[in-house]
């Protein structure tokens, strides 16, 4: 029988938000979809704890987070960039993990070697009031999450836990989350005809660097200055996630999860879905170039990604050999059995 349980936020870095798969079907009314910056990592964390792939989870930023369970144990998964995690102060192995957090125990995530976002999923349902059918937080318009704002110390997230047994500490086998940026694939358009061929080539070759101005709404990228062939004002039209708009100053902006629904600058190309998370995870200073692909190639990459998740998440319990018995005793985990 499930008990009342909650996840309490002890500390949260700026910009930590609740995100589900996004607020869809209202773009026509100017409502931003929001949703995770790295959908593949978000889905991985959710699937690992037995949730649906687009369930509500915490999107953790470079500022990190510290949480504890209140009332009952909670099963958590973390997946995304290479963040450093500790349980009651003890370092856990790097990479995607699953564990059961006992009441009073503290789980902490901090920025690690690489990556800009990671996802903390909780088995069961995080109970916050949906707005237009979604819990995705869009802080610029105060939609979703808790009062449309970022999470902060003292917030308590009530959780409806599923009837599942506590899980042993395990590593989530998710090699697909190891995605160095290097090359970001794009489909040209919808306004590539606003640029001459040499400008398309300059756009492709870059090289580009993620600037310090990179957030949930947009990634400003540094590189060659592009010139427009026929001006830079277009009649506002729809903006897809990953659209690369080139404003009057010729410096491209990649529009991300919190982008506005429509806009009035030419969009030279669009980052393909499977490479959006890869770009999102690139920190300021990371350099890359674009590769132009066809819609068919983009769909093939998308299908490959869907197939990976469809095969299911494999969890490898940590065994005694990987840790000292003292460490495992300290975690109350011997041979994968959680003592109560």
């Amino acid at each position: 029988m499930s008990q009342d349980a909650s996840l309490r936020i002890i500390a949260a870095g700026p910009g930590t938000t609740l995100q589900d798969g996004g607020r869809h079907f209202y773009l026509r009314y100017g409502i931003t979809a929001a949703g995770p910056m790295d959908a593949l990592a978000h889905a991985t964390a959710n699937l690992a704890v037995g949730n649906i792939s687009d369930a509500t989870a915490i999107e953790v930023t470079l500022g990190g987070i510290e949480v504890t369970a209140d009332g009952a144990p909670l099963t958590l998964a973390v997946a995304g960039g290479a963040f450093a995690v500790t349980l009651d102060g003890r370092a856990l192995p790097p990479g995607a993990l699953i564990l059961t957090l006992e009441p009073g125990a503290t789980f902490r995530i901090r920025a690690g070697e690489s990556g800009a976002w990671c996802y903390l999923a909780v088995a069961g349902r995080i109970k916050v009031p949906p707005v237009l059918g979604s819990n995705a937080t869009h802080t610029r318009t105060n939609f979703g999450g808790i009062d449309g704002r970022a999470l902060r110390a003292g917030d308590v997230l009530r959780v409806e836990p599923p009837d599942i047994a506590a899980v042993p500490l395990g590593v989530i086998a998710a090699p697909w989350l190891d995605r160095p940026p290097g090359i970001i694939r794009v489909v040209l358009g919808p306004q590539d005809d606003y640029f001459a061929q040499d400008q398309i080539a300059a756009f492709r070759d870059g090289p580009w660097t993620v600037s310090t101005k990179a957030d949930r709404m947009a990634f400003f990228i540094d590189g060659p200055t592009l010139t427009h062939a026929k001006g830079y004002n277009i009649l506002s039209d729809g903006i897809a996630m990953g659209a690369i708009q080139v404003p009057g100053n010729g410096r491209p902006i990649v529009l991300m999860a919190d982008r506005q629904s429509t806009g009035g600058y030419p969009k030279i190309a669009t980052v393909i879905g499977p490479d959006l998370g890869r770009l999102a995870q690139a920190r300021a200073g990371t350099s890359f170039r674009f590769e132009i692909v066809s819609v068919e190639q983009a769909v093939a990459a998308r299908r490959a990604e869907a197939d990976v998740l469809a095969r299911g998440i494999v969890i490898e319990p940590l065994v005694r050999t990987q840790f000292s018995s003292e460490f495992l005793l300290g975690l109350n985990l011997i041979d994968g059995v959680v003592a109560r």
Binding site: L27, R28, Y29, F143, S236, D237, A240, G242, T270, V299
Partner: protein, 242 residues
């Protein structure tokens, strides 16, 4: 009435297709966009997730693992061919707007730049119904066209400080109504007590693209009275008889 023209099909990545009917603000082009939107909503091909109508194009968000691009283009093309486009408008709304201080923050500036009196600016803005072309940019934000040429004013080079919620602005021969407080490069000439996004109403967004707004000047006291009623959930804009 107008025969549908052949639209352009442009990719916005592998999950969005732009069906573009033209490149100007024109009620007939917009009517073509809205007709395709209506057709795809009435009978959505499997894999179509949502559509976003704008001035001159429809963005179709789709799942390419459920419908491939070629089939989507075919479906859109046949929907365009089967659609009778008429430039008739939807509902005309008498839409209250206060053109007085403290709401009409930029009215004096606009009047000065256009060499008109304040009253003339208001008369021009209220004198003719403005077509709702699209929502965009922020929740419930309306983009209107049909603004008289004498009110054509360029956007500001630098955005002005945040305008109040409900701000009614003009720039570039267009007008917008902006429900959220935000910085803008447009000139704020008034403010409406109406709420364009009201989550507690059965229909949080009651204006549809293709509708028309005929702005009606209200004084500050009336503005506050209407805002209070709107705050309780009432729609304070009125359908026009004609």
């Amino acid at each position: 009435m107008s025969l549908p023209t052949t639209p352009r099909f442009l990719d916005a990545g592998e999950t969005a297709l732009v069906v573009e009917f033209g490149d100007v603000v024109d009620p007939v082009i917009n009517a073509q966009v809205l007709a395709l939107d209506t057709a795809l909503r009435a009978d959505p091909p499997k894999g179509v997730r949502e559509c976003v109508p704008t001035y001159r194009s429809l963005m179709i968000h789709y799942d390419p693992l459920q419908i491939d691009r070629a089939r989507l283009v075919d479906a859109a093309r046949s929907a365009v061919a089967d659609t009778i486009v008429s430039a008739t408008v939807g509902t005309t709304w008498r839409f209250p707007c206060c053109y007085e201080l403290p709401f009409a923050e930029d009215l004096d500036e606009v009047a000065g730049l256009l060499k008109l009196s304040r009253d003339e600016v208001v008369r021009l803005h209220t004198g003719t119904p403005l077509r709702v072309y699209m929502y965009g940019f922020s929740p419930g934000q309306l983009y209107l066209g049909g603004v008289p040429e004498r009110l054509a004013i360029s956007r500001r080079a630098e955005p002005r400080p945040p305008q109040p919620a409900g701000g009614v602005s003009i720039a570039g021969g267009l007008s917008v109504v902006v429900p959220f407080v935000m910085p803008t490069g447009w000139y704020v000439i008034g403010c409406t007590p109406e709420r364009l996004y009201a989550p507690e109403r059965d229909n949080p967004f009651f204006i549809q693209p293709g509708d028309q707004l005929r702005f009606e000047p209200v004084d500050v006291a009336t503005y506050h009275a209407l805002a209070e009623r709107a705050g309780r959930g009432e729609v304070v804009a009125r359908k026009s008889a004609a």
